[in-house]
Amino acid sequence: MDYIRAFIVGGILCVIGQILIDKTKLSPAKILVAYVTAGVILTAVGLYKPLVKFGGAGATVPLTGFGYALAGGVLKGVREHGFLGVFTGGVTATAAGIAAAVFFGYLIALIFKPSDKS
């Protein structure tokens, strides 16, 4: 049942992305940034955590989940370090994700070359 819920939540988030690409003039980069920002805002107003509880990885893996991690990290940082936590909290919480993205992105770029689209 967990898997099905993850599939539905993750799928819906991706469908929204596809609709944005097909129906709006937003570039993929703008859509991704919008997703991160949406994740932060939805977490701040308390709407994203329930979605994570329901959908698990289906809510944490898409980029809205990154916004959720950022927002959660800031909240934790402020609780532990006060005002400084506004600046340190977000990146601390997402450090593993960022490092992994850089590392694996670099590794893949070393191994693979893009080919033409047909």
């Binding site: 097909d22 003039k25 993929p28 980069a29 770029a109 033409d116 047909s118």
Partner: protein, 337 residues
């Protein structure tokens, strides 16, 4: 010696002759409706090179050599070459023609480069400034993505409304004497900007420029659309070509079945998933130097109007919120001198 006709048109008294021409197309173009017309189809879009930019240079080099081969002359006989492409500083062209040894006049007209370069070559030949002149241009899907949108390495998704930049090139060699086809008249275009800001709708941005140049030609010369076997625009694609017909209708000029657009001719929109159609300098260039000139040589077409259209924005002007100015250059090619 040429003379000016009306306000914008130049008529050559002794029409420069097309000594030879060549076209090279990529994989997708080679799977399209014009596959049999191209001199060469290369399904490997790297053209044997390590970067896409070098591939485009190789493409230009190859198409020039092919045209020279068909004319049975060496680069040393060519007095000047007019060429350009879509890349920053037109590096596809300069690196591609680096070894040719031909006096080089690089130019930028975006997708109007084929008509622009061919016009310049015709003027030089007609004026006696060149015995033999070459005009060529190219575009490459991968370099255009990096130039105007994102590099392929980025892995971004393309919206359905985007046009598909043609991987292709065309080259024409002009001589004062020959059996044709012949360049009879040219009408160089003015920059027209009606405020379109949408890069996904470049056809709409360029249609007004095409309408301006085409109507200038007809009013300068007194010719009518029905006088031509084919009137072909460069890459207005579906939306742009419909808009062009409407704009010209408002001026009393009706384009009928003899009108087509190279961006719509080079791909099969139904089968090839190129939504709006083809674009890029190589679009009008490769269609001209294959289907259009093939039919002029065979006599299927006797009079053709070839209009390349170019959108003159850059990624920076778009990011700064500016609209898209466009230009269209017209060439009247005939199979009679």
């Amino acid at each position: 010696m040429a003379k000016r006709v009306g306000r914008y048109t130049i008529r050559f008294e002794k029409a420069p002759a097309i000594k030879s021409y060549a076209s090279i197309a990529g994989k997708k173009e080679g799977e399209g409706p014009l596959a049999k017309e191209f001199d060469e189809i290369n399904t490997d879009s790297t053209f044997g090179e390590k970067t896409w930019e070098k591939a485009e240079s190789r493409l230009q080099n190859n198409v020039l050599n092919k045209a020279l081969q068909k004319a049975n002359i060496t680069p040393a006989s060519v007095d000047i070459v007019f060429a350009g492409d879509l890349l920053n500083q037109c590096i596809g062209t300069s690196y591609g023609l680096r070894e040719s040894g031909i006096p080089f006049a690089g130019l930028y007209g975006a997708c109007s480069t084929m008509a622009e370069s061919l016009s310049m070559a015709a003027v030089f030949v007609d004026g006696g400034y060149a015995n033999i002149a070459a005009a060529l241009t190219s575009s490459h899907f991968c370099t255009a993505e990096r130039q105007y949108r994102c590099p392929l390495e980025y892995g971004g998704q393309r919206p359905q409304s985007a046009q598909w930049t043609v991987t292709g090139a065309g080259a024409v060699i002009l001589d004062l004497n020959g059996n044709g086809p012949f360049i009879r008249e040219i009408t160089l275009g003015r920059i027209v900007d009606l405020g379109i800001k949408d890069v996904n709708n470049m056809g709409a941005a360029m249609a007004p420029a095409a309408a301006d140049t085409i109507s200038n030609y007809f009013s300068d010369t007194g010719a009518k659309p029905g006088d031509f076997d084919l009137i072909a625009t460069g890459d207005l694609a579906f939306v742009g070509s419909e808009l062009l017909k409407d704009l010209l209708k408002e001026q009393g000029i009706e384009l009928k079945a003899n009108y087509s657009d190279c961006g719509l001719m080079i791909f099969d929109r139904e089968k090839q998933d190129v939504h709006s159609g083809g674009s890029g300098c190589g679009c009008s260039a490769s269609v001209l130097c294959s289907y259009i000139l093939n039919n002029l040589c065979s006599g299927n077409f006797k009079e053709v109007l070839f209009i390349s259209t170019g959108a003159l924005m850059s990624p920076i002007s778009i990011q700064q919120g500016q609209s898209i100015p466009a230009v269209a250059h017209l060439i009247h090619i005939s199979n009679r001198p």
